[in-house]
Symmetry: C2
């Protein structure tokens, strides 16, 4: 298991654009972030050190499931009749069933080291919330999770998981914050969104001295924590005597994609060979393929700093497709920056095509992927079929970022033919983009 | 990973009682079982070879999650304040989330080798059905699962998992068999039971030349397939420089308990030191602690051979507690035999105490156990607390046979104070026991 995380900021040919304070439009400094995060994480957020040590107590927890398996998908290759070699890195073996504990554990540990005993956060379907609840339980931290109301009501199982770990779970928008109350005043039945839930959690952290905030994706330090995935994959593929030509991950906020791909990009940026890096996103929430690269807020109530990213606009509400972890209006600034530098590619698929890929994967490889992970499966299968058409035996690596055991309703609906591919509303997107903050930078 | 299974029949001080044909009351021979199982599995069922090779294609599938983790439960030890060392073997990393694929994969493979393309089976909550569906998908076998109706209706998620793997899932009792129709004629709303579902699956296999039957527990070959758990644990504990004084497993049909304990018992039977082996069963279905050691049928319609085992009577219907995998009237003949030889102990707990143990485990170790596994957690905690009282630093090993991601409703109910400890009906038990078949042996 790696002893360091990889920080791609050390190898970028051009630094990523600064994060701006929305009041002053000046770059944000560590002190601006201090109400929200412990200083150790803030320093990671702005670090340009290439390697940052993984603390031993964090590694000790990781040993429960790490190194995660790297598997050659022989049966999937056979089912596709492809000359390509397909490998997947399987993150579903973690206690929460996804890659999210890779950052939840260090975030909880650094907070605990700083004497913090309360963290507020948000979650959509609940992968992140349950992972932070798990990590909080290990380090004695009270976790409060604002869960998007539609998921809170319709998917009670990850909520039960959070509560089993001892976390408090609140349907968002809630009456516990100004942000939530303002929205409920306009619409008492508002279904919520990730942007709103972020506003509520940030508000709680910003207005309570004893409470910090934690985010499960998007931020630099979160992406860095996930690089343990790619670092392990490099070692494991070396042991297998192989080297990927294409690396595929699904993208919502960008963290699992960054986790598998940044270490490979780092090899390339330090003079290694060029590999294709493919981000796969939902066609119903296509920030990388249809969003604008611009400064925007990370939340709906505009409590966060401004970051330059591919965004659909902070007021954009995507259709209610099943991959709840990919329903976010923005993209991690680092992933967006790499896209602008043409160092990565992006494609988008609708959910039925992704579930079709997931069922083929389940029946050939035996693992039922999470709906989010199905996007990566679909991306990998498309690459393998291209190899078949072109008669090439390339090596494809993708990140199977979680299992679908909490998402079986979605599979039932898919198999019953009840899933609909919902395009986003073009007018709403145009309106959300027209509302982007004016930043001269 | 071990290359052989361990067959405890080779080391028994007294052979287990013969399995009898209910018509002739004579010992059953391999040919009697041929309509139900491929010959390779029948020969394993009656083998007295100590080691039986795990076929390479089976090991190839196992590599997806085996060797499974052996973990020292440091945080649980600390939470209990015990001087004992607690280790657990975690089987929830399998694609189906439990230990059941350990036997589903070889059973499917031996059937496929024998040219079988259809298997019928039964399942309660669905751990076994989903595991055989997974294994069937890998080896091109059509799997039909008779699922106990109350689970089919109330727990649709494991059913969805089976269907995702391509299996056909039928609520039992069904109109597809004589056994099912007979029961529905008396009670169209019958909730079903494992004994009835077994009758239906056996009937389908016995009356269709192209279909075999598979069982997820109880039988000798099933228990032997699970010994990979204990064999790995012996190796892993050796690497850790440790050796258990107490080995704990939960018991329904007996397979995960046998899997962790038989290899340790084998060491003892071949002259090694004595270890305590503790079976933990639900107080609402207490075959080992309250059942009669007698010949009985494995199913309700009396289509199976007669085996000598601890039984509550084949007509006994346990209360509807949440550990569906432990709701079986009988106990594996080998486990029963070892209990009679005083080589193992048995205790029983009600479900609230087991969920309390499971929540403590989740909050200290980070894994949410399946309700079945909570019985083993409870058993291990009780041993650790005894060590605390006695000031002994014994080493305790238990089998954490599956995760609870499909069972979060049960946790929600427990945390809401809605779980009831339901004692079984003493009168019903007496009636079921009075109906045991008369066998002079």
């Amino acid at each position: 298991m790696p002893k360091h995380w990889y920080n791609i900021a050390a190898d970028l040919p051009v630094p990523a654009p600064a994060v701006l304070h929305p009041g002053t439009m000046q770059p944000v400094g560590p002190d601006d972030l201090a109400p929200l995060f412990p200083m150790a994480l803030i320093l990671q957020e702005v670090s340009t050190e290439r390697e940052i040590e993984i603390p031993e107590p964090v590694r000790e927890v990781f040993r429960l499931w790490r190194p995660s398996p790297l598997v050659r998908a022989h049966r999937l290759e056979k089912a596709l009749g492809t000359p390509a070699k397909i490998y997947y890195k399987y993150e579903g073996v973690s206690p929460a069933g996804s890659h999210k504990p890779n950052t939840a554990v260090p975030q909880a540990w650094y907070n605990a080291q700083a004497g913090i005993r309360k963290i507020a956060t948000e979650t959509g379907a609940g992968q992140w919330g349950s992972s932070l609840a798990f990590a909080g339980a290990l380090f004695g931290i009270d976790v409060t999770v604002f869960q998007v109301r539609v998921s809170y009501d319709q998917k009670p199982y990850r909520r039960a998981l959070m509560e089993t770990y001892g976390a408090r779970c609140i349907a968002s928008p809630s009456n516990e914050t100004n942000s939530g109350r303002a929205i409920l005043a306009k619409d008492p039945n508002h279904p919520g969104s990730l942007g709103i839930a972020i506003s509520e959690a940030v508000e709680v952290a910003a207005t309570n001295d004893d409470t910090k905030y934690a985010l499960g994706s998007v931020l630099n330090h979160v992406l860095m924590h996930q690089t343990i995935i790619g670092l392990e994959a490099i070692q494991q593929l070396e042991m297998a005597g192989d080297d990927p030509d294409v690396v595929v991950g699904c993208t919502g906020g960008g963290s699992n994609f960054a986790g598998i791909s940044f270490p490979f990009l780092g090899l390339q940026l330090r003079g290694g060979r060029k590999r294709r890096i493919v981000a796969v996103e939902p066609a119903a929430c296509p920030s990388l393929t249809r969003g604008k690269y611009a400064y925007d807020f990370g939340d709906t109530a505009h409590l966060t700093p401004l970051t330059k990213m591919h965004t659909l606009g902070s007021t954009f509400t995507p259709p209610g497709f099943h991959a709840g972890g990919l329903r976010y209006h923005g993209m991690a600034p680092l992933v967006s920056h790499l896209k602008e530098l043409n160092l990565i590619e992006a494609v988008a698929y609708h959910q039925n095509a992704c579930f079709e890929a997931g069922v083929l994967f389940a029946r050939s490889e035996g693992i039922v992927p999470a709906p989010e992970a199905n996007h990566a499966v679909k991306g990998a299968i498309e690459e393998a079929l291209r190899c078949k058409r072109e008669g090439k035996s390339e090596t494809i690596l993708f990140n199977l970022c979680g299992h679908g055991h909490f998402d079986m309703t979605a599979y039932s609906n898919y198999m019953a033919g009840k899933l609909v591919d919902q395009p986003y509303d073009e007018k709403e997107l145009a309106m959300a983009l027209s509302g982007l903050p004016a930043v001269s930078a």
